[in-house]
């Protein structure tokens, strides 16, 4: 390689990466546009049977893992804070602290990541497998729009499910926090509740739910996008799942940062 070519290697690499990123963003935007078209009543609208099936698969069957994670997270949060609470005599703040952090940050963030790993990855794998086994082409050959039939019910189900799981997760996490606070710090239920209700605003809960909504839409779009654009047979399915999970996780953190910054 000539010195001149070596000098261009880094810009060329960066250019390729930037193009790949822009291609993916453009693909996501096109998928969102197609979803909008598919949702119109004249295009057939939302397939309710498919929606219910996905709500069960993605939502109901995620409850155990979300509940377990949330309970431990709530407990760990108070466990970590307990020495400082005792040191500063801040028992009156435990309920507020646990609720505030859970509602605004930990609930949507942790459940978003779990949801991404469980539901998003599964969704990408399923769609990618359908592509490589020609089932998506089979739908198209039957004049059935894959976006309308496969993607729209999944995106709606994943978005609704994500919000519902965050509500459930928040509640379970607070129970976990309350349990540990009661055992370690002798905080009563009334103290915990009073601490939370006296300082917390409904906006704090709404910010968390808004984050859950954004994470749900993001995970749903990314998992469908990477599933449908798979190339290269079975190894391609693995690559698609990997790309989907990584992109969604990065998207969750970026969205979380921006929404935290923009929503005081």
């Amino acid at each position: 390689m000539s010195p001149g070519a070596r000098g261009l290697a880094l810009p060329a690499f960066l250019g390729r990466q930037a193009l790949a990123l822009l291609t993916q963003i453009g693909g996501l935007a096109l998928l969102a546009r197609d979803l909008g078209r598919a949702a119109r009543p004249e295009s057939g609208g939302l397939d309710r049977v498919e929606l219910l099936r996905h709500l069960y698969r993605m939502g109901v069957r995620s409850v155990p893992v979300v509940a377990a994670t949330a309970a431990f997270t709530g407990g760990i949060m108070v466990l970590q804070a307990a020495p400082f609470v005792e040191q500063f005599g801040a028992k009156d703040f435990v309920g507020f602290f646990a609720t505030f952090v859970t509602f605004r940050e930990l609930g949507p963030l942790l459940i978003g990541l779990i949801f991404n790993g469980r539901v998003g990855a599964n969704n990408t794998a399923e769609l990618a497998t359908m592509v490589v086994t020609e089932q998506v082409d089979g739908l198209r050959a039957l004049a059935i729009d894959p976006v309308s039939y496969l993607v729209l019910p999944r995106v709606v189900a994943m978005t609704l499910t994500m919000v519902a799981l965050v509500v459930l997760g928040d509640a379970v996490a607070l129970l976990g926090a309350l349990g540990v606070a009661h055992v370690l710090l002798d905080v009563t239920f009334a103290q915990f509740l009073d601490s939370a209700l006296s300082r917390l605003e409904s906006w704090d809960l709404l910010v968390g739910l808004l984050k859950a909504l954004l994470f749900g839409v993001g995970i749903a779009l990314a998992s469908c996008f990477y599933g449908l654009r798979v190339r290269g047979g079975a190894p391609g399915v693995g690559r698609a799942v990997n790309a989907s999970v990584v992109a969604s996780a990065a998207g969750i953190f970026i969205t979380d940062y921006l929404s935290t910054f923009l929503l005081p």
Binding site: S43, G44, E50, G138, A141, L142, A143, D145
Partner: protein, 270 residues
């Protein structure tokens, strides 16, 4: 997945009889260019397939046979040239506008492409496609009749994963033909099957075409088998048509590449 409600961009309930071109040209490809990345697959391909016949599309691996079939179904877009199917140019149509043409064709995929629903629901898919006039009883009757026709009577409730390779092919065949279409595209219908099962599949393809008078296009690497049913044989090589004629002509062809491929000899240009 279920077979409940469908996206149907103006798809007619079933192909009107007057639209079915038992005579004339069913498929015409004009100066088709197709490449996958840097690899040119089809180069200036011209092809005319008469209606009401069984056409065999043969050729060495990776020569673009399946791609040609997918062009006919509108599943691929050419980089250049024109694709005319059942009297309509389709390469310029938007995906949603392809619905009415696709409603008049069926396709059997190399991997069968059976959906993760019961056999009966799989076969019923094309019947539910935008068709509100067919009752559930009528659909069930048609599915049962079609499954009996492919020698799988009473298998409606079975799942595709519980079937053998030959049975899956027959379910795919039943789904491709259940809607009484004018054009059926078969992509490697006997891939991975034993010779006896393969011949049964070919007999079903021929029986279906003779019964309906429609057009069948069969892509196959099983030259010996597909020549037993083909009215018209087309061989592709290096992105172009190198031979057209009857099965007899194909067997007797002096063209070196055709002779070697049809007779399976080791010596030759391939």
């Amino acid at each position: 997945m279920h077979a409940g409600k469908w996206y149907s961009p103006g798809v007619p309930s079933s192909a009107p009889a007057e639209l079915r071109p038992e005579t004339g040209v069913a498929v015409e490809l004009r100066r088709i260019m197709l490449a996958f990345g840097a690899k040119a697959v089809l180069r200036d391909l011209d092809l005319r397939l008469e209606a009401g016949r069984i056409h065999a599309l043969i050729g060495p691996p990776a020569v673009g046979k399946s791609a040609t079939l997918k062009l006919m179904a509108g599943l691929l877009r050419p980089d250049g040239g024109e694709v005319h199917v059942l009297g309509q140019r389709i390469d310029t149509l938007a995906e949603r506008a392809l619905g009415p043409v696709r409603a008049r064709m069926g396709m059997l995929f190399q991997n069968n492409a059976l959906f993760d629903v019961s056999v009966g629901e799989n076969v019923a898919f094309p019947l539910r496609r935008g068709d509100a006039s067919l009752s559930e009883a009528a659909i069930a009757e048609r599915v049962a009749e079609r499954l009996a026709k492919v020698a799988l009577p009473g298998l409606e409730t079975r799942q595709p994963r519980d079937l053998s390779g030959g049975q899956k092919k027959r379910v795919g065949l039943a789904r491709a033909t259940v809607a009484d279409v004018a054009l059926v595209l078969y992509d490697e219908p006997t891939a991975g099957l034993d010779p006896v099962t393969s011949q049964k599949i070919y007999d079903l393809v021929k029986g279906e075409q003779r019964a309906t008078g429609g057009t069948a296009v069969v892509v196959s690497s099983d030259v010996g088998g597909v020549l037993t049913i083909a009215d018209h044989v087309v061989m592709l090589h290096e992105g172009r048509v190198v031979f057209e004629g009857t099965a007899h002509d194909a067997r007797a062809s002096p063209i070196p590449v055709v002779h070697q491929f049809v007779h399976g000899t080791l010596e030759g240009p391939l």
